[in-house]
């Protein structure tokens, strides 16, 4: 082998190591690609290039020379490649076609102020607007029809409503069970219960949705006696069900990782098992339990099929017994109808980017808190 060192000594080893390193970068690449390609499709919304106004100012073909190329391209709704490949005569005939199309808009829209509005403007996405036919400003998500209304506030409210109901249901149950399993249960009970609860995460969400739709909705309606059978409450409970295993296993891990010396010291001082669990172990593991909740939130906000199956009408209402439509549901239900590259399509991708950002942040918070917690415990050991 000689006295060579480094990659000269064993070129194959060196190559293999570099290859392994490069492959391991794929996780970073994927996160990057996901963000890039989801945001790419939504870019025109962020840059405010999309215009959905039905009635636009008609520019006569004779005035074509007065327009700058960029303006002209936007007016004719062309991509830069298409625009570059066309000669002047084609553009002129396109302008004539456009003029005719604009002239053919029915008269009832021509007098409608809504038809002159670009509904993908951030003002109309976020603020209430008094649409013609309504007597006060309202938040409306209504992507079909001649004048498409894209106010995303009802979707945000729906998402938040369903997610919070789910967490209110799941967190106490999951944390309670985690305390029981990690601190109070006998070892043989523990060995049995833990994998069983984790088995819950193996139930596909479409099956949870199906169960909520067919069985839980009826049972809950009988118990609470509300009007609509399918509402945010049912969706929230079903969602909580899907989140329980996530919160449980992280919280249980955190509680178990509290050093045994803590427990033993408390027990030796005469504390009961419950006092030890509640006053010693839980405070020590609190960051971990918090992280479990945050990660559960991330999971709940991104859950699609359950909410899609249980309730989907987009109503602007804070009542938990009304229907709700979450962001994920909207994307799943409407993507098939949206014209590829159109404003509706772009808005749906924009919602996906928002969702990605929200879960990215909640994951980061959860991760950082858990890492600090582990370091702290290791430092104290």
């Amino acid at each position: 082998m000689g006295i060579q060192r480094g990659h000269n000594a064993r070129p194959l080893e060196w190559l293999a190591e570099k290859f392994i390193f490069l492959v391991s970068l794929s996780a970073i690449l994927m996160v990057f690609l996901i963000f890039m390609f989801v945001a790419r499709e939504a870019l025109p919304i962020f840059l405010e290039q999309t215009d959905t106004a039905l009635v636009q100012k008609v520019i006569s073909p004779d005035e074509m020379d007065k327009l700058s190329p960029a303006k002209l391209q936007q007016y004719l709704e062309l991509t830069p490649q298409q625009f570059a490949s066309m000669d002047k005569d084609t553009l002129k005939s396109l302008m004539e076609v456009k003029q005719e199309a604009l002239d053919e808009i029915p008269a009832n829209f021509r007098n409608d102020p809504d038809a002159r509005v670009n509904t993908t403007d951030w003002r109309y996405l976020l603020q209430p607007h008094q649409w013609s036919g309504y007597d006060k400003p309202e938040f409306i998500w209504q992507p079909v029809g001649e004048i498409q209304k894209y106010n995303i506030i009802p979707l945000l409210v729906g998402t938040l409503k369903v997610t919070l109901i789910g967490l209110f249901f799941a967190v106490p149950l999951a944390v309670g069970a985690a305390i029981y399993v990690s601190q109070l249960a006998r070892p043989n009970v523990r060995e049995l219960v833990k994998p069983t609860i984790e088995l819950l995460s193996g139930i596909p969400s479409v099956v949870v949705g199906f169960f909520a739709l067919l069985v839980m909705a009826t049972v809950l309606q009988k118990i609470f006696g509300y009007q609509t059978r399918l509402n945010a409450f049912v969706a929230g409970i079903a969602l909580g069900f899907a989140v329980i295993p996530v919160i449980f296993s992280i919280a249980e891990d955190a509680l178990t990782s509290v050093p045994r010396s803590y427990t033993q010291a408390a027990l030796a001082l005469g504390a009961s098992r419950w006092q030890t669990a509640w006053q010693i172990v839980l405070p020590a593991a609190l960051p971990g339990v918090f992280a479990a909740t945050v990660l559960g939130f991330g999971r709940a906000i991104g859950e699609t099929m359950i909410v899609l199956m249980v309730c989907s009408a987009s109503v602007m209402s804070w009542s938990i017994f009304d229907s709700a439509r979450s962001i994920t549901t909207t994307i799943a239900a409407e993507m098939a109808e949206a014209v590829s590259g159109g404003p509706h399509y772009q808005i749906l991708f924009m919602l996906g980017a928002l969702l990605f950002a929200a879960t990215f942040v909640s994951n980061m918070i959860g991760e950082v808190v858990i890492n600090r917690f582990k370091l702290k415990l290791e430092g104290k050991r």
Binding site: L12, E13, E17, I20, F21, V23, S24, L25, S26, A27, M30, V31, I34, F37, V38, E41, L173, A177, I179, Y180, L184, V193, P195, I197, L199, G202, P204, S205, V206, V207, G209, F210, F211, L213, L214, I244, L269, G270, S272, W274, Q275, G298, I301, G302, E303, T304, M305, M309, T328, I331, A332, M335, S340, F349, G352, L355, T359, N363, G366, E367
Partner: protein
């Protein structure tokens, strides 16, 4: 000389947190009972779901049901079947495994065997893996549509001079690749766990005998880690088998008259079929038996895989614990 009185060295107030020494502590019993009840409640709900599906689904299950390709109207209880859905789900998951296993295992090898623990790159890789695990499944669907179909597929069509869209449309391969990206963290974490469970002594012995690092990994470490890698693969498969959201726009079809022949074909899927049956049925009471039977087939597929994975993982963990 001052003498210290007991009042000076004893704290004035007793510590706020003191433990009662009564023999019967009602609060303790009550609250322990409450956590026990929470546990029981979760287990009970799980049991109710599983039993409900098992009891209602069992009667609808027959050889005819799992081996028939249904006609266009698959809501008909007598003639319907789920063969194309079983085949579709199995193939998409199998193709996914081909892509995700090598990448996931190699990443895990880098993280446990090569990566300097404190370096920035390692930490970024770990953060990326954790983030990937938390990305909502519907966002993976959007990614599959935006990247695989609209970018890779459409450009492939241009390169191959296809006049019709062959690659640039929803297809089996794009659904599988989307799922592969989604399940990468599952494989990485499971493989890492099993690699860590291998005693360092084995590696040291191999290196001491003159084997190189690569030889050690290929001939000593990987064979030992095989059960753990299998667990990772199985967990990824069972997770992917039940996911519907990522394949909604990337390859699933409402109805196909035949089984998929090529990776560019769309396919029918068990989970999506459950969704269709439960939300678009013309008469939910009449189609209830086939709905329950379909759910049962899906659950049996994912649960069988899950239980195998849990058993293998329990063994790996025991090994890890025994090593200290």
């Amino acid at each position: 000389m001052n003498t210290i009185t007991p009042a000076q060295y004893l704290p004035e107030k007793p510590a706020r947190r003191h433990f009662r020494t009564e023999k019967f502590d009602f609060a303790s019993l009550f609250f322990s009972g409450l956590t026990g009840l929470a546990t029981l409640f979760i287990l009970g709900l799980l049991a109710v779901i599983l039993l409900n599906i098992l009891i209602n689904g069992w009667s609808g299950l027959s050889w005819h049901f799992v081996s028939t390709i249904p006609k266009k109207d698959f809501f008909d209880v007598k003639t319907t079947g789920v063969l194309p859905m079983i085949v579709g789900t199995t193939i998409r998951v199998f193709v996914m495994t081909i892509f995700v296993l090598p990448v996931g295992v190699i990443t895990a090898i880098y993280l446990t065997e090569y990566a300097p623990n404190t370096s920035i790159v390692t930490r970024i890789i770990r953060a990326a893996v954790n983030n990937l695990a938390g990305v909502p499944s519907i966002v993976f669907g959007l990614f599959g549509l935006g990247f695989f179909i609209n970018f890779v597929g459409k450009n492939l069509d241009v390169l191959l001079h296809n006049s019709d869209a062959v690659w640039g449309q929803p297809a089996l391969i794009w659904a599988s690749l989307t799922l592969a990206v989604m399940t990468m963290p599952v494989v990485i974490v499971a493989t890492e766990e099993s690699l860590k469970a291998i005693p360092p002594g084995l590696r040291e012995a191999s290196l001491a005998l003159g084997a190189t690092k690569l030889e050690t990994i290929l001939k000593i470490v990987l064979p030992q880690a095989l059960p753990g890698i299998m667990t990772g693969g199985i967990l990824a498969v069972s997770r992917a088998a039940g996911e519907v959201a990522p394949i909604l726009f990337t390859g699933v079809a409402y109805y196909m008259a035949s089984l998929p022949h090529h990776v560019t074909d769309p396919f029918m899927d068990l989970g999506y079929h459950v969704f269709v049956l439960s939300t678009q049925s013309p008469n939910i009471e009449q189609t209830r038996p086939i709905l329950y039977a379909t759910v049962l087939v899906l659950l049996m597929l994912t649960f069988a895989l899950n239980i195998v994975a849990i058993v293998i993982r329990a063994r790996v963990r025991k090994k890890l614990r025994a090593l200290g």
